[in-house]
């Protein structure tokens, strides 16, 4: 537990009372309106269900709305004076005995080595520009299993060390057994080298951070000894496909108000998003070792989304966790297509739903439980919306079949049924307003920020971009709703997902890919359209935006994956971001590094055979292998595999078999020599 001045409790309490009061009051008001319409003839079971679903959904929507609104208000008046970057330095606390060095750690797993190292180089170049590169060491923590990728990573690492004369400053480690995925990877780092560093900045394979941002984060940690983690808000950059450029624009334009709003009420109890964050190593190691949860995946086993849990554990131990919403120069990349986005969502969905248990873990603060609940709700909201639409459709059908009775009892005059159209329209408009007003807030904010306005392409282009983005999000929302509903159902039926490498590079979807991924949604859209048009025509027209998104899922997904369209939009000044208008140095470095890597790649044979045959690559790999004893039986197995390669080629081996060979210096040396010996005789099998 840190003993220095902690952040004042009264400010935290006051802000949370304000925020949650707004959220609850909005929810109650919306519910009251919809309930008054339902009470016309007593509430039916399906109306009761609708009320319950609406309560959950409007609670979620109003949380997001008030977060954005408060963030907008704060930014309009110059930002939050209680943000971590504006607070005065706090004295006291235990002296951190670890040397004041910071490790930049990048856990990777089967990523494109070219992109990984181009990014790392860019970060290091930007860090050197600050003149404080000596305070940092870089660590590439590889969990890649495939020897092709493994050997390529090593070569890229060594070339980077040579190019920057940074031997002994940039490190590379390939884990022998990748237990517990990314959290296990970081855990192993802390266990082996943790005492060497006071801080670590965790990067994702696609992370980019400006040198000045890195040094600023270290300075903030030094100034606030009670803080264990500062999360920077990463902005998406570097995209070409239309899908990713639209998301990139939305995240860049709307993200700031949401982050400022979140920081307003979370303050020193913020969350960790897994990367682009600085962590105090000692408390992290002391409190964030993660156990395996009892039971099988998806709810048991290794903890998938470790970041939320680690933040909760730090808060439980009395450490502060902050979101520095105003910290610039922190970037990441997005999945390039709707399908890749959904694939990433599948993993995140499983990780967040696994947190159901954490909500009921002893010792966590109510706010930590709320963070877990919000993570769960970000995926559970999809099946809830789906159910809400189904029940609404059914209710509309029931209403359409009900004949009004004008004369009953002793009434001489007709009793006209009461109309609740005003209440229902108000409910709908309020819900839509809460969904779309944050976009308007962001636009309004640009009106007072002339430089930003120019960087986003001018007010006309920004307005058009917001309009198109809104249409696009309306169309894609039902597709994602069905995807996420499917994911939630799969997880609830205990189907786990594999740990696969992410597809990060741009690629145009083929008809086959799009059809296979979206035929179900298209079918649901057409079927729902037919049923609603046939039986409840008045409902059909209300339902049209949802139906259109589903029915056109295949062309929408294909078109949005196009880089040509993305670049055309860029040329037209649509979906522009400040990072596109005036790229920061770190992005220019990345672009140059990627261009150089691409040029170098053209002249290099990329196969595993060629890598083993290359004296430089093979020697480097052998030099980096950890020393280990091989038992006699293993030695025989390795020899058998070696002969299999000689006779049938490396293609005949599975990835684990290739890895076994690649992890053994003797086998590698034998294969290396044979590959050269066979060159002159022409007997090479490969």
């Amino acid at each position: 537990m840190p003993a220095a001045t902690v952040f004042p409790r009264r400010i935290r309490v006051l802000r949370r009372v304000v925020f949650f009061s707004l959220v609850v009051l909005t929810t109650v008001a919306a519910l009251a309106m919809i309930a008054s319409a339902f009470q016309q003839n007593g509430i039916t079971p399906q109306e009761l269900l609708l009320l319950f679903l609406y309560m959950l959904l409007i609670l979620w929507v109003s949380t997001s709305f008030w977060q954005a609104t408060i963030g907008f208000w704060l930014l309009l008046w110059g930002g939050d004076r209680q943000s971590i970057s504006r607070l005065p330095a706090r004295a006291g606390g235990r002296t951190d005995q670890a040397p004041p060095k910071t490790a930049l750690v990048m856990p990777i797993y089967h990523e494109d080595p070219e992109r990984v190292f181009a990014g790392l180089r860019a970060i290091y170049q930007s860090l050197r520009d600050t003149g404080r590169a000596d305070e940092f060491e870089l660590f590439v923590l590889s969990d890649s299993r495939n020897p092709d990728v493994w050997l390529e990573e090593e070569v890229h690492w060594y070339r980077m060390c040579c190019d920057f004369d940074a031997h002994g400053k940039i490190f590379y480690r390939n884990r022998e057994k990748n237990i517990a995925r990314k959290s296990g990877n970081l855990e192993e780092f802390c266990h082996r080298w943790g005492a060497r560093y006071r801080y670590m900045i965790v990067l994702d394979a696609d992370s980019l951070m400006c040198g000045s941002t890195l040094t600023r984060m270290v300075d903030l940690m030094e100034a606030h000894p009670t803080v264990a983690l500062i999360q920077s808000p990463p902005l998406p950059v570097n995209h070409k496909s239309l899908f990713a450029r639209i998301l990139q624009f939305a995240s860049s334009l709307y993200g700031e108000i949401f982050a400022a709003g979140a920081s307003y009420w979370q303050l020193s109890d913020s969350n960790y998003w897994g990367h682009n964050a600085i962590i105090r190593v000692k408390p992290f190691a002391e409190h964030c070792g993660l156990p395996k949860l009892p039971g099988k995946e998806p709810f048991g086993g290794e903890i998938f989304s470790h970041d939320f849990v680690e933040a909760a554990l730090l808060r439980k131990a009395g450490w502060e966790v902050w979101l520095a919403y105003d910290l610039k120069g922190s970037y990441e990349e997005l999945p390039p297509t709707l399908i890749d986005y959904a694939k990433r969502d599948r993993r995140w969905c499983q990780g967040n739903l696994q947190h159901v248990r954490m909500v009921f873990a002893r010792g966590f603060s109510p706010l930590s439980r709320l963070h877990f609940l919000m993570g769960i709700m970000s995926y559970l909201s999809s099946p809830l919306w789906f159910l809400f639409l189904l029940v609404t459709g059914f209710e509309a059908y029931v209403q359409s079949q009900t004949m009004p009775v004008y004369f009953f009892g002793d009434n001489v005059f007709p009793v006209w049924p009461e109309s609740y159209a005003v209440e229902m329209t108000t409910v709908l408009l309020v819900t839509l307003a809460m969904l779309f007003l944050p976009k308007v807030w962001s636009l309004l904010l640009l009106l007072v920020r002339s430089e930003d306005r120019k960087a986003y392409g001018g007010i006309v282009r920004i307005t058009l971009s917001v309009l198109f983005e809104s249409i696009f999000s309306v169309l894609t929302a039902p597709i994602l709703m069905l995807y996420q509903t499917n994911f939630v159902l799969a997880i609830l039926s205990r189907r786990s997902t594999a740990w696969l490498a992410q597809q990060r590079s741009d690629h145009r979807l083929s008809v086959k890919e799009a059809f296979l991924a979206h035929w179900g949604q298209t079918f649901v859209g057409i079927l729902a359209g037919y049923v609603s048009y046939r039986y409840v025509p008045s409902f059909f027209w209300w339902f049209l935006p949802v139906l259109a998104g589903l029915a056109f899922a295949i062309p929408l997904s294909m078109l949005s994956s196009s880089t040509a369209l993305g670049l055309l939009a860029k040329r037209l000044g649509l979906f522009l971001t400040p990072e596109e208008s005036a790229p920061p140095a770190v992005l220019s470095y990345l672009k140059d590094n990627l261009a150089q890597a691409t040029a170098a790649r053209r002249v290099v044979d990329d196969s595993l055979e060629s890598k083993i045959g290359d004296p430089a690559v093979c020697s480097l790999h052998i030099a980096l292998l950890p020393h280990r004893l091989v038992k006699r039986r293993q030695r025989h197995q390795l020899r058998a595999l070696t002969y299999q390669v000689i006779e049938e080629g490396p293609g005949s081996l599975s990835v684990p078999e290739k890895r076994a060979l690649a992890a053994d210096p003797d086998s590698l040396t034998r294969l290396h020599i044979l590959s050269w010996a066979q060159r002159g005789t022409g007997t090479a099998s490969s």
Binding site: C162, G168, F171, R192, H627
Partner: protein, 138 residues
């Protein structure tokens, strides 16, 4: 002169063609002695192994390393030589006429030795127990 042997010497960093020819000849002779009458593939393998042995021996002698205990370090030095173009070559290891130049080259080579990880500095990271209200605890 077998072309693969010639190419191999070039790839491991022997840039001087005369030296390369001389080393190739010596390695071939050694391979023939060791292997007797064999098929070309075995002879080439023996010769390439001999190149590696000579290179390792020269590196170990130059830097005071043990050929077996420091095998990983030697492999690292071999990689540094092979990747060291244009300012590093293995020639000085076999020529050894100019002592100053040799020292300078050795220093340059050591500076390029791959250092994959720093010395370990352990920090225990115990797994935190979780006690759940409605679920089995860890």
């Amino acid at each position: 002169m077998p072309q693969p042997l010639w190419d191999y010497l070039d790839r491991v960093g022997v840039r001087n063609e005369a030296l390369r020819a001389s080393l190739a000849r010596q390695c071939l002779i050694h391979a023939r002695k060791g292997a007797g009458l064999q098929v070309a593939e075995q002879l080439a393998a023996e010769a390439i192994e001999e190149v590696q042995r000579r290179l390792d021996r020269a590196l170990a002698q130059g830097l005071g390393l043990h050929p077996v205990r420091d095998a990983a370090k030697l492999a690292g030095l071999r990689a540094a030589l092979a990747m060291g173009q244009p300012d590093l070559s293995a020639d000085f290891l076999f020529e050894g006429r100019d002592a100053d130049k040799r020292e300078e080259q050795l220093a340059r080579l050591i500076a390029r030795l791959p250092i994959a990880t720093p010395p370990e500095a352990h920090l225990p990271m115990p797994a935190q127990p979780f006690h759940f209200v409605f679920f089995k605890s860890s």
